[in-house]
C-alpha cells in the first residue's frame, strides 16, 4: 500500500467514519513538515503526510491494514510543527483502534491481554514481584548511608503511590534504585502496590479505549484502597 502507483478503487472511498473524527485532517495543506520532522519517517516508506492524505481521502481499509500506523512512536513532534495543528498522533491511535484486536501486532496484543488478565504485561505472579522488589531493596541497604532502606509495599496512607514499568522488574532492575534512593534521602513517604502495579498502558498505544480505561481504573482503585492522594506514574 505504500506505493503511490497503487490504483485507488473509487468505490472503496468511504469518508463517513473519518469525517466524524475531530482531528482536522481535512485541513492538511500537504506541506510535509510532519514528514520532514518525523524521527521514523522513511522506515518501510513511512510518510505521515501520505498517511493523513489517505485518511482525508477516506481510504479506510488501506490505512487500517497498513503497517505505517504501527511504525509511528507517537512522539508528537509532527503535531508540534504542524501549521494546521492536526493532531496526527491521535489520528494514528484512532487508526490503530479500528484494527481487529486479533490483528494487533503480537507483542502489544499479548502484553495487553496479559495485563487485563493478571494486572501486568509480563504475567508476573504477585509473590515473584514482591520478591524482586525486596531483593532490590536489600541491595540498596548494602550501600553506605542506606542501611535502613526498606521497600514500602502496600503502605496505607502514604503520600505518593508509584506505578512500575514492567521492564524495571524484568531486565532493568538497577533502574529502580536511582529514584528509590532519592525518595529515601528526601524522606518521602511513598509506596508500591503489590497488585495492578503496571505503569505501561498498551491500551493507549493500541487505540483500545476500553482496555486503557480498565488499566487506569485499577490504579485509581489502588489509590482509594490505600487512601493515597498523589500518584507518580512513570511510564
Amino acid at each position: 500500500m505504500q506505493e503511490t502507483s497503487d490504483i485507488i478503487e473509487m468505490d472503496q472511498i468511504d469518508h463517513d467514519r473519518f469525517r466524524s473524527w475531530p482531528f482536522s485532517q481535512d485541513f492538511c495543506l500537504t506541506c510535509g513538515l510532519c514528514s520532514s520532522s518525523c524521527p521514523v519517517s522513511g522506515i518501510d516508506g513511512f510518510d505521515p503526510r501520505k498517511l493523513i492524505r489517505m485518511v482525508s481521502l477516506g481510504l479506510e481499509d488501506k490505512v487500517v491494514e497498513a503497517r505505517w500506523p504501527w511504525i509511528c512512536t507517537m512522539c508528537a513532534k509532527c503535531e508540534h510543527v504542524c501549521p494546521m495543528e492536526i493532531d496526527i498522533p491521535n489520528v494514528v491511535r484512532s487508526i490503530r483502534g479500528l484494527r481487529d484486536r486479533e490483528a494487533v501486532p503480537g507483542i502489544l496484543h499479548k502484553g495487553l491481554a496479559a495485563a487485563l488478565e493478571t494486572g501486568n504485561n509480563l504475567r508476573l505472579p504477585k509473590e515473584d514481584f514482591v520478591f524482586i522488589l525486596e531483593d532490590v531493596g536489600e541491595e540498596i541497604a548494602e550501600e553506605s548511608g542506606f542501611e535502613d532502606f526498606k521497600v514500602p509495599v502496600d503502605k496505607e496512607g502514604a503520600n505518593i503511590l508509584t506505578t512500575i514499568h514492567n521492564k524495571l522488574v524484568n531486565t532493568h532492575t538497577d533502574d529502580l534504585k536511582h529514584w528509590w534512593k532519592i525518595f529515601h534521602v528526601a524522606k518521602e513517604d511513598w509506596t508500591v502496590p503489590s497488585d495492578n502495579w503496571e505503569g505501561t498502558n498498551w491500551g493507549l498505544f493500541t487505540g483500545d479505549d476500553g482496555a486503557m480505561k480498565t488499566m487506569v481504573g485499577r490504579i485509581v482503585e489502588n489509590m482509594e484502597k490505600l487512601k493515597i492522594k498523589n500518584l507518580l506514574w512513570p511510564e
Binding site: 510535509g32 513538515l33 520532522s37 510518510d47 510543527v81
Partner: protein, 404 residues
C-alpha cells in the same frame, strides 16, 4: 480640485502612487511616512532582471519616489506618526514629528557617521539615491539619545549636518479624505524551527532582497563568502493556523524564484534548492516563467524540519525528499526563509484612531466615510497590485470629494 486636501498615511509604493494620482487632479496631498526612508518595502527590493527585465516592479518605487519629491502638490513628511484624528466636516489630524537629526540640506551622504558610530544599528542607511538624507539616526540605539555618552557622529560630520540634541515636534493638518496605505510587516520567523537570529546564515526573503540590491549574489552574513548551496523555504508564517495566519502571502513564490533566477544568472555555479508546498503562480506572466524555473532548480515539495549548525559553520537541514521519497539530511551555506506578509505592526492602533474596521486576518477590511485603503494594508499584494490598488483608492477618493 485645488481646494481639496487629502492625507495619505504611509509612504510606500501604494502611498506614493496614490499621491501622484491625486496630484494629477490638482488635489493637495500630505503624504506622511513614519520612517526616515520613504518607499516602503518595495524600495528595498532588488531588480530581478536576468538577461532581460522580468517585470518584478522593484524599480517602480524609485520612480514614484522621485516623481513625488518633485511634485509641488505633494508634501512628503518623513519620521511622522499620527497622534489623533477627529472628524466633523473634514478630518483634523495631529502628528508627532520625529527630530530631523540629520539636516537633509547639509548632508552629502558621505557615510562618515555610519563608519564612526560605535553602536550597531544606531546610524541607519537608506536604500535609494532618492533618500535624502541617505542616513538616519535610530533613537532606540543611539548612545547620545540614551544617556548623552557619545556624540562621535556629530563631531565627525564634515558638513556639520548632525544635531543630536533635537526634540520631537508636533504637526497638524486638515484633510477632506484619508487614504490608508500603511503596508505590511514581514513575519518574524524566530519561533520557527530554523534558528533565525541564532544562525547568522539563516535570513529572510526581505533580507535577501536588500542584499541583492547591493551585490550580484548572496553572501553568507557570517563570513561574507559567496553562498554556493542555497535553500529557499517557502510559506514560513503564511498558511499557518497555529499563528492564525490562514492566508497565502502571494508574493513570495514569485519573488523568491525570481531572486533565485537572478542569483543563478550572475553566479551559474550556485546550487539552489526550493522547498515549497505548492507554487502560487499569481500574475499574468508568471506561469510561463515557472515552466522554465522547474528545470533550473531542484524543486522539493516538502517544507523542511530542523536546521542545525555544523562544526564548520554550515547549515544541516532535515527534510523529506519528495523526489526520492526518502528522508534526507543535507548541508547548505545559506537558508532563505520566505517570511509571510502580516498586518502592519501599527494597524490595530491606527484602526482605533481612525475608527476603521479590521478583517479577521488583522488587515484593514473596507473603505468608508472618507477613509480609503490602498496597497498591502488590505492584505498581501505585489508591487503591481499595490500600484493598481492605489489607483483605485485615488479614483474612489476623487469621486467622494466631487460628491461631497
Amino acid at each position: 480640485m485645488p481646494d481639496k486636501n487629502v492625507l495619505i498615511l504611509g509612504g510606500g509604493v501604494a502611498g506614493l502612487s496614490a499621491a501622484l494620482e491625486l496630484a494629477r487632479f490638482d488635489i493637495s496631498v500630505e503624504l506622511v511616512e513614519k520612517t526616515g526612508f520613504p518607499g516602503g518595502h518595495a524600495i528595498q527590493f532588488s531588480c530581478k532582471a536576468t538577461d532581460k527585465c522580468v517585470k518584478c516592479g522593484a524599480c517602480v518605487a524609485e520612480e514614484k519616489l522621485e516623481n513625488v519629491t518633485e511634485n509641488p502638490k505633494i508634501r512628503l513628511m518623513r519620521n511622522t506618526c499620527v497622534e489623533k484624528v477627529t472628524k466633523s466636516d473634514r478630518f483634523s489630524v495631529t502628528f508627532q514629528t520625529g527630530p530631523e537629526y540629520i539636516d537633509p540640506d547639509k548632508c552629502n551622504g558621505c557615510g562618515v557617521c555610519l563608519e564612526k558610530c560605535p553602536s550597531a544599528g544606531a546610524v541607519m542607511q537608506g536604500f535609494s539615491k532618492h533618500h535624502t538624507p541617505f542616513y538616519a539616526i535610530c533613537a532606540e540605539k543611539c548612545l547620545f539619545i540614551k544617556d548623552g555618552s557619545c556624540n562621535v557622529c556629530q563631531e565627525a560630520c564634515p558638513e556639520g549636518a548632525i544635531r543630536l540634541d533635537q526634540k520631537p515636534g508636533d504637526y497638524a493638518c486638515e484633510a477632506d479624505a484619508i487614504i490608508v496605505a500603511t503596508g505590511f510587516t514581514g513575519f518574524d520567523p524566530k519561533d520557527k524551527p530554523y534558528g533565525y537570529k541564532v544562525f547568522p546564515n539563516v535570513i529572510t526573503n526581505l533580507e535577501a532582497e536588500r542584499m541583492l540590491r547591493q551585490q550580484d549574489i548572496l553572501l553568507r552574513p557570517s563570513d561574507n563568502k559567496p553562498a554556493e548551496r542555497i535553500a529557499f523555504i517557502q510559506c514560513v508564517g503564511s498558511r499557518d493556523a497555529s499563528l492564525n495566519h490562514l492566508w497565502c502571502s502571494k508574493i513570495c513564490c514569485g519573488s523568491s524564484l525570481r531572486m533565485a533566477r537572478r542569483i543563478k544568472a550572475r553566479g551559474p555555479e550556485t546550487e539552489i534548492t526550493f522547498f515549497y508546498i505548492d507554487v502560487q503562480t499569481f500574475g499574468s506572466d508568471f506561469q510561463g516563467v515557472y515552466e522554465d524555473i522547474r528545470e533550473e532548480f531542484r524543486m522539493i515539495r516538502a517544507i523542511p524540519g530542523d536546521i542545525f549548525r555544523t562544526d564548520d559553520d554550515r547549515l544541516q537541514m532535515a527534510f523529506l525528499d519528495s523526489n526520492t521519497r526518502e528522508p534526507a539530511e543535507e548541508i547548505f551555506d545559506l537558508v532563505v526563509l520566505s517570511a509571510g506578509l502580516t498586518p502592519g505592526k501599527d494597524t490595530e492602533h491606527l484602526a482605533g484612531l481612525l475608527g476603521a474596521e479590521l478583517a479577521d486576518t488583522g488587515f484593514f477590511s473596507s473603505s468608508r466615510d472618507g477613509i480609503f485603503l490602498a496597497g498591502a494594508a488590505r492584505g498581501p499584494m505585489s508591487i503591481a497590485e499595490s500600484v493598481a490598488s492605489a489607483g483605485n483608492a485615488a479614483w474612489e477618493t476623487v469621486k467622494y470629494l466631487s460628491e461631497k
